[in-house]
């Protein structure tokens, strides 16, 4: 059982790390602001989401698990809004 749980963690966290890597490459390589934001949000939402998902089986208490999910929701919320703000600002320039 513990091996299965560890496997879930390794797979999910690795997948999350790949999204972060892809997002970073996109941020560096893509030509303009909307494309770069598109790459960045994948790292924020899916990358962090998968890492949180992978860490959930490792926490001891329900409160800790809720805190992890809250972190993900907060990052997603602020990330989505900041992305909109940056995109709007870049379009008006």
């Amino acid at each position: 059982m513990s091996t299965a749980i560890a496997l879930v963690t390794v797979v999910a966290v690795s997948a999350g790390a790949i999204f972060f890597l892809a997002g970073t490459i996109g941020l560096i390589r893509f030509p303009d602001a909307p494309c770069r934001l598109h790459a960045l949000t994948k790292a924020d939402n899916l990358g962090l989401g998968l890492i949180v998902l992978g860490l959930l089986p490792q926490v001891g208490t329900l409160a800790e698990a809720l805190k992890l999910v809250c972190i993900w929701l907060l990052v997603m919320f602020s990330g989505a809004i900041v992305t909109q703000l940056i995109a709007a600002t870049s379009r008006h320039k």
Binding site: L74, F77, S78, I81, Q84, L85, A88
Partner: protein, 313 residues
């Protein structure tokens, strides 16, 4: 090489690289953005050194509030920047002075200190039970070295006085300008309506948990200040004038409350800033509550800067 060591080495290399980037950046704005990334990486380094209290403070104050202050400064001076670099001799002298300070610090900590380094951690832990607190860092801040903490808060008020004093005479006591003059974007207003309730809860938790776990007045105050600044930038609330009595009282309330508790210690526990037997923890939490509010108000006012408009009638 263990994976932890590999991580630490990579982190140290990254901190050094970002520090170089901050110094080498040609534009003030890029330097500030590098500095914020540097602060966040540094807070990770503090986590690795098992100093979560310092890490939280570094992230909230070092990267967050200082980053905001510098962003504001860069935006203000950005268009006035002259192309001419300072003379080479001056740059060399500054570099040499910095290198001397850095190598002096390195020599002191790495070479001159005996092994193991002298530490007060065991006596600090030994007396922890008498304070009623669970977090030794809070015990140092509010029991062992309470005077330093009190004076630190006074310094924060003095810094705000210095910033406010930059206002020209005709707008003295007026309103600071925060953000651009254009009406705020709908998305920012949405953020300012949704995030502050959550942020305030996190700030209160951060202050409350500080007695027993990493956290405290400074970290909670910084989050509270950030929430207030979001609301102000979205124009959901008016920036109070720097002459507003309520604002001035809020800035002074924490340090004054802490000083009052300190003087009460003279009457009740025979020493300035001493707590009567059994009342240490409630008094510390009372002082921290006041300080959290005052720190939040002071940090937000520091970011908003000096008054630029005349006070409302």
């Amino acid at each position: 090489m263990t994976s932890a060591l590999a991580f630490d080495l990579a982190l140290a290399a990254l901190v050094l690289a970002i520090a170089t980037l901050t110094i080498a950046a040609r534009e003030a704005m890029s330097a500030v953005i590098s500095f914020i990334a540097y602060g966040l990486l540094l807070s990770l380094a503090w986590v690795r050194l098992r100093a979560p209290d310092v890490a939280l403070t570094e992230a909230a104050i070092g990267a967050g509030v200082t980053g905001l202050l510098l962003l504001g400064a860069a935006a203000t001076i950005g268009h006035r920047q002259a192309g001419a670099a300072p003379p080479l001799a001056l740059m060399l002298a500054a570099g040499l002075a910095c290198a001397l300070v850095a190598s002096g610090l390195a020599a002191t900590t790495l070479v001159l200190l005996p092994e193991p380094a002298p530490t007060l951690a065991p006596p600090a832990m030994a007396s922890l039970a008498t304070t009623g607190l669970g977090n030794p860092v809070t015990a140092v801040l509010f029991v062992y070295r309470a005077l330093d903490t009190l004076l630190e808060k006074v310094v924060l008020v003095l810094a705000l006085l210095g910033v406010w004093s930059l206002a020209p005479d005709r707008v003295w006591g007026g309103v600071a300008r925060l953000g651009p003059d254009a009406p705020p974007r709908a998305m920012l207003v949405f953020l300012a309506q949704l995030l502050p309730p959550v942020g305030m809860l996190i700030a209160i938790y951060m202050f409350w948990t500080g007695a027993d776990h990493p956290g405290g007045a400074f970290q909670g105050g910084a989050i509270l200040a950030a929430m207030w600044l979001i609301v102000l930038t979205a124009r959901l609330a008016d920036m109070p004038a720097t002459s507003h009595p309520g604002l001035r009282l809020l800035v002074l309330a924490g340090p004054m409350l802490f000083a009052a508790i300190g003087f009460a210690g003279w009457a009740l526990a025979d020493a300035f800033l001493a707590y009567p037997e059994g009342y240490a923890k409630p008094l510390i939490i009372l002082a921290e509550a006041g300080l959290t509010l005052s720190i939040a108000a002071t940090l937000a006012c520091l970011v908003a800067g000096p008054a630029t408009r005349t006070p409302p009638p």
